[in-house]
């Protein structure tokens, strides 16, 4: 039987800033028994959507829908971009716009990476040591996509790491896309409160499933000189490349 196909929508941040997250995600999707396809792709349109440029968001969404709609499964290694496609795309188009049905179809087939791996489990493999892991939920994964147990179960199942919870875990890290550039002072305050909570958790590694949070928190930890490693959950689960 041929392997089912899954499209990897890699996200701009992984594409540009952390290609290794894209490769790790591709490796995990393959390990789960899927043939990975990376269709030519751009941005999901969230920056425009969040800035009030709905028409711009529609333009970018149409391009993404056209690139993704032939796949039965679309995997996104980000709750934020995943939520944009799975939750917001249908709202971009009026009910009588033919793009509405196409947006709904793609939305219904789009899964965030840990959601995908919870449905299509990885084969068992020896658990690698991973130390004390603080897992940070992105707001979009937690509240928009309702993802809470999946990443923790994956970490417990595939690593020998111990998960420590971060105090006030529901609080936002302060990234917020353009927010961190438009309101740097508030963003920095939110980030430093989060890094303080991470440090207080006793973790030696911070793991999350969204690169926005990770670039924000990792960069803040680095500036603070905190000895805490930072990894995307795809990298953690896939192992060192």
């Amino acid at each position: 039987m041929p392997q089912p196909e899954a499209a990897l929508f890699v996200t701009c941040l992984a594409d540009l800033m952390r290609p290794e997250v894209g490769f790790a995600a591709a490796a995990l999707i393959a390990r789960a028994g899927f043939s990975v396809v990376v269709p030519p792709q751009g941005c999901c349109g969230q920056p425009n959507y969040n800035a009030g440029d709905k028409e711009g968001a529609r333009t970018l969404a149409r391009a993404a829908i056209a690139a993704l709609e032939r796949f039965e499964t679309v995997v996104v290694p980000s709750g934020s971009c995943g939520g944009m496609i799975a939750k917001h795309y249908p709202h971009l188009f009026d009910a009588d716009d033919p793009w509405r049905a196409r947006a709904e179809a793609v939305a219904g087939r789009t899964l965030e990476l840990t959601q995908f791996l919870a449905r299509h489990p990885l084969p068992d493999a020896p658990k690698r040591p991973a130390g004390r892991i603080a897992y940070h939920d992105s707001c979009s994964a937690r509240r928009e996509m309702g993802i809470l147990a999946e990443p923790r179960q994956l970490i417990a199942a595939h690593t020998a790491g111990e998960i420590v919870e971060i105090a006030d875990a529901e609080a936002c890290c302060g990234f917020g896309g353009l927010f961190c550039v438009k309101y740097p002072e508030i963003s920095a305050r939110m980030a430093s409160e989060k890094t303080a909570a991470i440090a207080a958790s006793g973790a030696d590694m911070l793991v999350a499933a969204d690169l926005g949070c990770l670039l924000n928190l990792g960069g803040t930890l680095q500036r603070e000189g905190a000895p805490i490693a930072v990894k995307h959950i795809a990298e953690l689960l896939a192992g060192e490349p």
């Binding site: 890699v10 701009c12 992984a14 594409d15 540009l16 290609p19 997250v21 894209g22 490769f23 990376v38 030519p40 792709q41 751009g42 941005c43 349109g45 920056p47 425009n48 959507y49 969040n50 800035a51 009030g52 440029d53 709905k54 711009g56 333009t59 970018l60 391009a63 690139a67 707001c139 979009s140 509240r143 928009e144 529901e170 609080a171 936002c172 302060g174 990234f175 917020g176 896309g177 353009l178 927010f179 550039v181 438009k182 309101y183 740097p184 002072e185 508030i186 963003s187 920095a188 305050r189 939110m190 980030a191 430093s192 670039l215 924000n216 990792g218 960069g219 803040t220 680095q222 500036r223």
Partner: protein, 469 residues
């Protein structure tokens, strides 16, 4: 209204050494209170669903319910007035005071009267309104505006309050100890008790208007609303038309989510229900006036922000908002702060002056997650951003950047070219700054103001993926 913009006010607030610990205390106190109260209740999510439906039914039937309220309140002896805007509401209140020879008025905390700046208007008319909610009283003595919807003086320490009372209470003996919180509360109780018993009129807001009986329902913890609405000979209530609910059963459900969401109480300490005017043999004011305030609400109901009218002003969205927790309430520059303020202030005070408010959100969604009536606050903020973008309000650099991003994203080759150039640029910067970028150019400098950025370790994912295959 305020000379500084949001960013400047936020900057000032974030550098106020006393504010940060107060906000931190507020956050943990209110968040834990709500969480425990929700947990104690058998099925709080079901209660929220019902409260959400009740409020939306009220929005739907608003004109009919308001007419029913008016008919029933009038039949019970109240006078109902309709005010299209702040000026009209103030004028009606002032006229009632004039007609009844009111010189001294006491007030219970009311966001509607804050919204229309009633106190300033009454003062100009020769009426001295005294706030009686302890926090609001302190704020009034200091000439400030409330910084939190249910805890107006959250930004002050007990030393600040003692200093305020010393300056304002002329008869306070210099050797009397008011260094402790309970002494301060006692001092305010004594002072305000005199005011209650001497006042000609009491002015309140209203938490709900119950259509089926023409009743105004109010909640407080101090008991000051009960005294304000019953001790003087005239009562004036200023209530937004959005506060309408159909029945007592509806009000009961809203009450149950309100106190739990606001302070974590199962029930507010005082719930005051006022129906009409007092009969001859009954305690209380023989004259009762209800001013139904529109002030933009009917326009909001016709807009894509109509769901904001479901708000019951509990403050849970503030208490769970990371922006509010960082800046406090004064940064918002309006009557309302936090997520609710970010939706309401552009409506009351104009979008172009307040476009920062809906913009200053990460859309983290925690406000919506705790809103007792499930208002989609992030979506409403998004609608304001769309209005602002359509009106050309965001800075030119932001609009150009978004336009460029849209243009690049329309064709995959342009997007790939742009990301490859950016990747090359970042790697070069990384090389120049020895492995980690401490300073990005242009707006990116705001990111690196407080963070490092590790540059990418090679070309873009898409170019490498295709290169490797």
């Amino acid at each position: 209204m305020t000379a500084l913009d949001f960013k400047a006010r936020a900057h000032a607030a974030m550098n106020d050494a006393r504010l940060a610990p107060a906000l931190k205390r507020m956050k943990s106190h209110f968040q834990m209170g709500r969480a425990l109260a929700a947990q104690r209740f058998p099925d709080f999510e079901m209660l929220r669903d019902r409260a959400a439906a009740i409020r939306r039914r009220a929005i739907s039937a608003m004109p009919d319910l308001l007419e029913r309220f008016e008919a029933n309140a009038t039949a019970a002896g109240a006078s109902v007035h309709w005010a299209a805007d702040a000026a009209e509401a103030c004028a009606i209140a002032a006229r009632i005071c004039r007609d009844n020879g009111v010189k001294r008025a006491i007030k219970s905390k009311s966001m509607a009267t804050e919204e229309i700046h009633l106190n300033a208007h009454l003062k100009r008319e020769g009426v001295e309104p005294v706030e009686t909610d302890l926090g609001e009283y302190i704020i009034q003595l200091r000439g400030e505006r409330p910084s939190h919807i249910i805890a107006p003086a959250i930004h002050l320490s007990k030393e600040d309050v003692a200093e305020t009372f010393r300056a304002a209470h002329a008869d306070l003996a210099p050797d009397r100890d008011i260094s402790g919180r309970s002494e301060l509360v006692r001092e305010a109780r004594i002072k305000l008790r005199e005011a209650f018993l001497a006042a000609d009129a009491g002015i309140t807001g209203g938490n709900m208007l119950i259509a089926e009986t023409g009743t105004i329902l109010l909640v407080s913890n101090e008991g000051n609303i009960d005294l304000t609405a019953t001790a003087p000979r005239v009562h004036i209530a200023v209530v937004g038309i959005d506060k309408i609910v159909e029945s007592w059963d509806d009000a009961g459900i809203v009450l149950r989510v309100l106190a739990r969401s606001a302070t974590g109480q199962d029930m507010s300490s005082y719930v005051t229900c006022l129906t009409g005017a007092a009969a001859q043999d009954e305690d209380g004011p023989k004259q009762s006036h209800i001013i139904l305030l529109d002030n933009g609400r009917s326009a909001m109901r016709a807009s894509n922000k109509a769901e904001m009218l479901a708000c019951i002003r509990c403050g849970a969205c503030l208490n769970h908002c990371p922006i509010y927790a960082a800046t406090g309430g004064h940064a918002y520059g309006g009557t309302y702060s936090g997520p609710m303020g970010a939706v309401l202030t552009p409506l009351f005070d104009g979008l172009s002056e307040n476009a920062d408010l809906p913009s200053a959100s990460t859309f983290c969604g925690r406000c919506e997650a705790v809103c007792p009536v499930r208002i989609p606050l992030p979506m409403l903020l998004r609608h304001w951003r769309e209005d602002a973008f359509a009106a050309g309000i965001p800075p030119r650099g932001e609009r150009w950047g978004l336009g460029l991003w849209r243009w690049a994203g329309r064709a995959p080759w342009r997007y790939r070219l742009a990301t490859r150039m950016a990747s090359w640029g970042l790697r070069t910067l990384g090389w120049l700054q020895r492995g980690r970028i401490r300073r990005l150019p242009l707006a990116g400098g705001n990111f690196t103001a407080s963070r490092d950025l590790t540059p990418p370790a090679g070309g873009t994912f898409q170019s490498r993926w295709r290169g490797e295959r």
